[in-house]
């Protein structure tokens, strides 16, 4: 196949053919990406703190999923299944919108091990 800069000016391309469309409807985990997709890149080094997910308290409301600006909340079979740490920028929006008590997502230092973070989970807060 030709690369985009080999086409003549004025060419009409048909990216919306059947194969292309089928590929588009696959879930990200099942899709094959080229190295030109930003999915192949990482912004993990932007993070100072990372969100850790505690499945014990999660009610699978998906607020974190819909509001994550970077599509970094992983959803599988109607369950919130963790954080994509390659693309998460550590903004903390997911933690802010998590409605459970205690929260099911909390920010921890980047260097903290997940299992240690889970041990430090706060108790239910009374207001």
């Amino acid at each position: 196949m030709k690369g985009w800069n080999e086409f003549e000016i004025g060419s009409v391309l048909f990216p919306l053919n059947e194969d292309g469309m089928k590929a588009q409807e696959k879930m990200p985990q099942e899709r094959s990406y080229t190295e030109n997709s930003s999915r192949s890149a990482s912004v993990a080094h932007w993070r100072v703190q990372k969100p850790v997910h505690n499945v014990e308290h999660c009610i699978n409301c998906f607020f974190c999923w819909v509001y994550c600006p970077d599509a970094s909340i992983l959803a599988k079979d109607e369950k919130m299944s963790g954080v994509d740490y390659v693309h998460c920028k550590g903004c903390g929006v997911c933690v802010s919108v998590c409605p459970t008590n205690p929260k099911s997502l909390l920010m921890f230092d980047e260097v903290e091990e997940e299992k240690d973070a889970l041990k430090k989970w706060p108790q239910k807060e009374t207001k």
Binding site: V12, P28, R39, C61, V66, C68, A71, V93
Partner: protein, 314 residues
């Protein structure tokens, strides 16, 4: 096909078409809006994108974050690029050269690209009646070039070209009422949305995309960098905007039928919204307090006008 989203569990099964590791700032609402728009469509969609934060952050050579056909063109003509594609679709279809499903034609632009620099082109597209949807990412500032004021910047906001200081309280002019202007083009559907109200937003995106003819969506987009708030508070910031009625959610059908789509249970004072953002900090000095009062008056007047228009069906 557009999706009727009933709950977030169902929505979460969407095949994402916007990839991570783009270079938008952490917590940028632009990313939320793009995902909520793209995830509401199954099937063919084609995007035209004006220059601005979205474009420069998502197409950094050699990467692209878009898994859909995406055209970047000048700052001013995201609209005409899509209109051209739509015209070409019609021609190819008529000649039998394209038999596939009809794509949704969508243009994205920031408020600078929309309210100001691209306005004449958008207006032309609406006047000619192209079948497309224009979505404005309204962060009320030219964010990408360092925060200059735009036609959408609200009264009193401190920007790099209207800096607050000893002699100035920030921007002297009010925000342009773009929705009224777009409705006045006779558009079959225009609406204001905010991504924190995802259900309302999804419904309006769906209506805009499914309606034939030029439709317009103005989407509130909180900008952590230029509004100056902590990046984890993006959703809270937009909650305050809609609950203080600084950014009311409504739609206008066929150029005149106005409907309010969200009525806050508790309307909060605009001070509560202004007080949490660095761009309005100076307004809380005694000599500038009258600007807060003015903004509150403007908001109240607009809300009254919207309610009256809804009631009267005009």
């Amino acid at each position: 096909m557009t999706k009727d989203v009933k709950n977030l569990k169902q929505f979460s099964k969407s095949a994402e078409k916007f990839e991570g590791a783009n270079l938008l700032c952490p917590g940028c609402a632009h990313g939320m809006i793009i995902r909520e728009v793209l995830n509401s469509v199954d099937g063919h969609i084609l995007i035209g994108n004006s220059t601005g934060c979205i474009e420069v952050s998502t197409a950094v050579y050699p990467y692209t974050s878009w898994d859909v056909p995406w055209i970047h063109i000048g700052f001013e003509n995201g609209s005409t690029a899509v209109a051209g594609a739509e015209a070409m679709y019609k021609a190819l279809k008529r000649k039998g050269k394209y038999q596939g499903e009809k794509p949704r034609f969508v243009a994205f632009g920031g408020d600078g690209a929309t309210y100001d620099i691209g306005f004449q082109w958008i207006s032309g597209c609406f006047e000619r009646g192209h079948d497309f949807t224009y979505v404005c990412f309204d962060n009320e500032v030219y964010a990408n070039t360092g925060g200059q004021r735009s036609g959408s910047t609200p009264l009193g906001s401190s920007t790099s070209t209207t800096p607050a200081g000893r002699v100035s309280y920030g921007k002297k002019e009010k925000k342009k009422d773009l929705l009224a202007i777009m409705a006045a083009h006779g558009s079959p559907y225009v609406a204001q949305v905010a991504p924190n109200k995802w259900k309302d937003m999804n419904k309006k995106i769906k209506t805009a995309l499914d309606t034939e003819g030029p439709t317009f969506i103005n989407a509130l987009s909180a900008c952590t960098t230029e509004w100056r708030f902590d990046c984890n508070n993006t959703v809270e910031m937009m909650d305050l905007a809609v609950d203080s009625l600084v950014f009311p959610l409504y739609e206008i059908v066929n150029g005149h039928e106005l409907r309010i789509t969200y009525r806050p249970k508790n309307i909060i004072p605009v001070r509560d919204y202004l007080g949490v953002q660095g761009r309005f900090k100076h307004l809380f000095k005694p000599e500038n307090e009258h600007i807060i009062e003015q903004i509150q008056k403007d908001v109240d007047k607009k809300w009254e006008m919207l309610q009256k228009r809804e009631e009267a069906g005009v």
